[in-house]
Structure formats: structure tokens, C-alpha cells
């Protein structure tokens, strides 16, 4: 085993896949042994069969959800970092506004969805806004903390050199904030996805542009539980891919300097 643990390919690709395969195998076996009915908890093969047979429809729904996810994530990232920049401009702004930003996070989207739908006529836009609201807070919070996590000596250097606000932001605060910002991205990407699903639950649309939430709700009402799990699988797989993408981005941006991503010289 020793050499395997040292093997990059094994650690990064094979081991995670093995774990996944193992879990699926145990699940399959358990369901079969205890003869769990498919309407209660389907086996991986049930789900795979459904996935294969209903793929076009499910992929269409996935695509609808992904569109909302990506737009919401983009909005959350842009608006979230903008707000974080604003909050770190002065302590008085931070103390006066940051606590209220929490309201974005803790307001049940179900309660305000009608208001958003009333204000925004376009359904996709309304869904995107709901999902963005759900995804934005980790970006705001982590980026604000990150923008304040500046090496005081470097900050002194910039101040002494009369660096402008923008220069300090771009050359000092943003790089210093990256570890926290990227940690925020990891959380936020998942929230954008689940936000898109929840928004659809709440503001619900069926029809041609229906997303995975609709698939899940309908499958659940109609007790087509394998299909519901197939839809859930697509969501979670998307979530895992988003997470890996964010982790990869972290590695790319921090790998050469930040402890959290650095491979320690041995």
C-alpha cells in the first residue's frame, strides 16, 4: 500500500472513485439483502437504469437548473465581492452594513419569493435572484474577513508609498483575501446550485423550462423514487464537480504561495 499512498494519481483519482464504488456496492447489497422496495429506497442499479432510460429529459432539466446556477453564482460572486469591498472601505461602513447583510442569508426564500416574482416578471430572472440571494452570504462574509487579513507590514509598505485605494485593493488586499475568498467560493458554488433548486421549488415552474426541482417534486408525488434519485444524483454530481472545480481553482491561484495549498518541501 505504501507506494500507492504516495502515488498522486491514486490519491487524487483512483482512491475517491474506489470509495464511491464501495459505497454503491454496499448500498446495492444492503437493499437486495433486506429487499427494500424501490419506492422506498431504490438500489443503485434501479437508479442507473432510470438514469439511462430517462436521460434526455433529465439532462434537459439539469441544463435549466445549471443555467440558473451559473447565473446566480456569477451574480453572487460579483455582488458579494463588491459588497465586501464596500464593507472594508471603512470600519463605520462595515459595522453599519455587514450585520444587515445577514438578512439576505436568514430570510426564508419561500417567504419572499412572491415579492420577487411580483417585482421581476421573468421567471428565470426571478429564480436566478432567489438562488443568488441564497449563495451570496458566504462570499460576502469570507471575502470581508479576507480583505482584512492583510499582513500589517505589507499594508504599512503600501501606505508609506502612498498607494491609492484601488492599487492597495488590487495589489495587496485582493491577493491577501484570496484564500478566504476561494474558501467562500467552495461554499457558495454549492449554495448556488441548491439555491437554484430551492428557488424552483418555491417559485415553481413546470413546462418546457422546468429544472431538476420539478423533476424531483413530480417524481416524489408520483412515487417514481428511482427517478427522483436519478435527479438527485445529477444534482449531487454537479455539486461535486463544482466543488472540484473550485478546489482546482484554489490550487491554481494559491498553489505557489499559500500554506493551505502548498506542497511542503521535503
Amino acid at each position: 500500500m505504501r507506494p500507492l499512498i504516495r502515488n498522486e494519481w491514486f490519491v487524487r483519482v483512483a482512491a475517491p472513485l474506489l470509495v464511491g464504488a464501495l459505497v454503491l456496492a454496499v448500498w446495492q447489497l444492503a437493499c437486495q439483502t433486506y429487499e427494500v422496495p424501490a419506492y422506498l429506497f431504490p438500489t443503485p442499479t434501479d437508479i442507473a437504469a432510470k438514469l439511462a432510460s430517462d436521460l434526455p429529459g433529465l439532462l434537459g432539466a439539469l441544463w435549466s437548473t445549471l443555467k440558473v446556477t451559473f447565473m446566480a453564482f456569477a451574480i453572487a460572486v460579483i455582488a458579494g465581492t463588491a459588497l465586501a469591498f464596500l464593507f472594508t472601505q471603512s470600519r463605520i461602513i462595515e459595522f453599519s452594513l455587514l450585520p444587515y447583510a445577514v438578512i439576505l442569508q436568514v430570510t426564508p426564500i419561500a417567504a419572499v419569493a412572491p415579492l420577487i416574482i411580483i417585482l421581476v416578471k421573468d421567471t428565470t430572472a426571478a429564480l436566478t435572484i432567489c438562488a443568488a440571494v441564497i449563495a451570496i452570504f458566504p462570499i460576502i462574509s469570507n471575502t470581508t474577513i479576507g480583505l482584512k487579513s492583510v499582513d500589517p507590514s505589507l499594508a504599512n509598505y503600501f501606505r508609506m508609498n502612498k498607494a491609492g485605494r484601488l492599487q492597495t485593493l488590487v495589489r495587496l488586499r485582493i491577493p491577501s483575501a484570496l484564500p478566504f475568498f476561494l474558501a467562500g467560493l467552495r461554499i457558495s458554488s454549492g449554495l448556488a446550485l441548491i439555491g437554484a433548486v430551492v428557488a424552483e421549488f418555491v417559485a415553481g415552474t413546470g413546462g418546457r423550462s422546468a429544472g431538476l426541482a420539478y423533476e424531483i417534486l413530480q417524481s416524489s408525488f408520483q412515487l417514481d423514487i428511482p427517478r427522483m434519485f436519478a435527479a438527485l444524483f445529477l444534482i449531487t454530481a454537479t455539486g461535486v464537480i463544482l466543488f472540484l472545480a473550485m478546489a482546482g481553482l484554489s490550487n491554481l491561484l494559491l498553489g505557489h504561495w499559500h500554506e493551505s495549498a502548498l506542497k511542503v518541501e521535503q
Binding site: D151, S153, L154, N156, Y157, F158, R159, M160, N161, K162, A163, Q167, R171, L172, P175, L178, H256, W257, H258, L262
Partner: protein, 293 residues
């Protein structure tokens, strides 16, 4: 032009210059520290009221026991701390005068203070970028500064890939690249070997002379202090204060002939004695146990 010949050229250029105009003490003041004192939030009294005038062209060295407030004084002068009381003038005005033409300040901190995410060249180019010097102009200046500290080959390394002394040299290059008028250096050569250190000392003498640089320098090396300075301020601790001043009235620029002169040895002995006195004077007062013995 290789680094060695470049250095020779600098020294020659310096030697060829006419002697400076009026007497040093008639030069206009660059920094005036007017009864400035500093206490920290935790109650530490780092500096008792200090009065100090540094005139154009002076090379002033601060020397004193560890913890006596040298770095604090330098940071006050760089406007990084606000004095708890008293005030500081730059070019007879407030800090807004700094940065205006011909009033450029550069500071080499005691720690390298580099951006860990940026390559060496980018770190050195930073002050030029902040001044919006166009890249085509900045690049050769950065290369020259790195050559000067012997790090031309390390331009594309990241700080964490450098040795301690190399990091410090990057920091020095970052200060030299701006061609400052007022240069603050906090133990810049402490982590360097004597060979490199002597070479940089020589460069600094040449540079100061050639560019009419005003320098405030912190070192623990008595030899370095005597070799470089026009004036040495010996500080004592508990609380940090000016303990004695030693004027080194040797002509500039100086070279190995001065280093090997008996005058040099005498001055070193004098300074060493002053430092011992200052160290003893630093004990017992203020702090429960001596800050440095």
C-alpha cells in the same frame, strides 16, 4: 555591463563629482523630529521625547541595544506610527510633502516584507508600479536593482524559495529601485555575509554620495556604522532615548583606505565604548528586569 563593472562605474562617477556645496549643517533639514514620543496601546513606553534633525545629504545611523526603539523611531519618521506626542516635519512640511518631486522616501524594513504570492521581480517592481512607471521603463530598472544586490538570477523565484539573506536583498533592491532621496534602512545587512555586506556598504557610500541621498540607517555593526555614517546616534532603552551622538567627520566618499585606517579603529573603539555605556544605562530603569545587558 556586469555588476562588478557597474559598481566600479558608480564609484568612479561619484569620485568625479565636485565636493558638495555648503557645510553639512547648513543644508536644509529633511526630517525634523520635534519632541516626538511613542507609547503603545499596551502601555510600553517605546520612546521618550526625541529631538533629531536630519539634513540633506546626511548619513545618520541609529545604534543601540535590542528593543531600545530604533525601529519605532524609523517608523515614526516614515509616518507609519503617529507620535503619541510631539510632531515630525518632512522637508519642513507635513507628510503630504513626501512623494512630491525630489522628495521620494524608501524604507527597508527589518523583516523582508515581501508579497509571498509574487515573484521576486514583481516584488521589486512594486514601488514603480505604485508610481505608475510604465513597464518598459520599469523593467530595466528592476533588473539593475536585482543585479546590484546579486540576485539577477533569482528574478523569477518566489520569496519562499529564497534563503533568508536573499529575501532581505530583494527588499533592499525594492528600496533602491525607486531612486529615493530619503532612505530609511532597518538593519538591512544583518543577515548577509561579510563579503556581500562590504560590497553593499561600498555601493551605499557611492550611491549616497552620487545621488546626494539622505539616509537614516539602523545597524548593530559598529564597523558598518563608522564606515557609512556622517553622524551616529547612540540610543538607550527604558525608555528609548538618544544617549549620545558621535560625528564621523571623514570625507566622503570612503573606501577601503578608510576601513584600514587607524582613525577608523579609534572611532570604532569610541563608538563601542558609547554603546557599552548605553547598554548599561538601559538596565534597570523602567522595566522590571533589564531589557538588554
Amino acid at each position: 555591463m556586469g555588476p562588478a563593472s557597474q559598481r566600479a562605474a558608480l564609484v568612479q562617477a561619484a569620485a568625479a563629482k565636485p565636493p558638495p556645496g555648503p557645510e553639512p549643517h547648513l543644508q536644509p533639514p529633511v526630517v525634523e523630529v520635534l519632541s516626538a514620543e511613542k507609547s503603545f496601546a499596551n502601555g510600553t513606553r517605546a520612546l521618550a521625547p526625541i529631538d533629531l534633525t536630519v539634513r540633506a545629504g546626511e548619513f545618520l545611523t541609529l545604534i543601540g541595544p535590542s528593543g531600545c526603539g530604533k525601529s519605532t523611531l524609523l517608523k515614526l519618521i516614515a509616518n507609519l506610527y503617529e507620535p503619541t506626542d510631539g510632531r515630525i516635519n518632512w522637508w519642513r512640511g507635513d507628510f503630504r510633502k513626501v512623494g512630491q518631486d525630489g522628495r521620494r522616501l524608501a524604507f527597508v524594513f527589518q523583516d523582508p516584507t515581501l508579497m509571498p504570492w509574487a515573484r521576486v521581480a514583481t516584488n521589486v517592481r512594486l514601488p514603480l508600479d505604485l508610481e505608475r512607471v510604465p513597464k518598459p521603463q520599469a523593467t530595466p530598472r528592476v533588473a539593475a536593482a536585482l543585479e546590484q544586490v546579486g540576485l539577477g538570477h533569482a528574478a523569477r523565484s518566489f520569496p519562499r524559495q529564497l534563503s533568508g539573506g536573499m529575501r532581505m536583498r530583494v527588499s533592499i533592491a525594492r528600496a533602491l529601485v525607486t531612486e529615493p532621496n530619503l532612505l530609511l534602512m532597518d538593519e538591512p545587512f544583518g543577515a548577509l555575509d561579510e563579503f556581500t555586506r562590504n560590497k553593499l556598504d561600498d555601493d551605499l557610500v557611492a550611491l549616497s554620495w552620487e545621488r546626494k541621498l539622505t539616509t537614516i540607517f539602523v545597524t548593530h555593526s559598529i564597523y558598518e556604522a563608522v564606515f557609512l555614517s556622517t553622524r551616529i546616534v547612540v540610543m538607550a532603552a527604558n525608555p528609548g532615548r538618544v544617549f549620545r551622538e558621535v560625528v564621523i567627520d571623514e570625507p566622503m566618499p570612503r573606501g577601503d583606505d578608510f576601513r584600514t585606517s587607524s582613525r577608523f579603529a579609534d572611532l570604532c573603539r569610541e563608538l563601542s565604548a558609547a554603546l557599552t555605556d548605553a547598554s548599561i544605562a538601559s538596565q534597570g530603569k523602567g522595566a522590571k528586569t533589564p531589557c538588554a545587558r
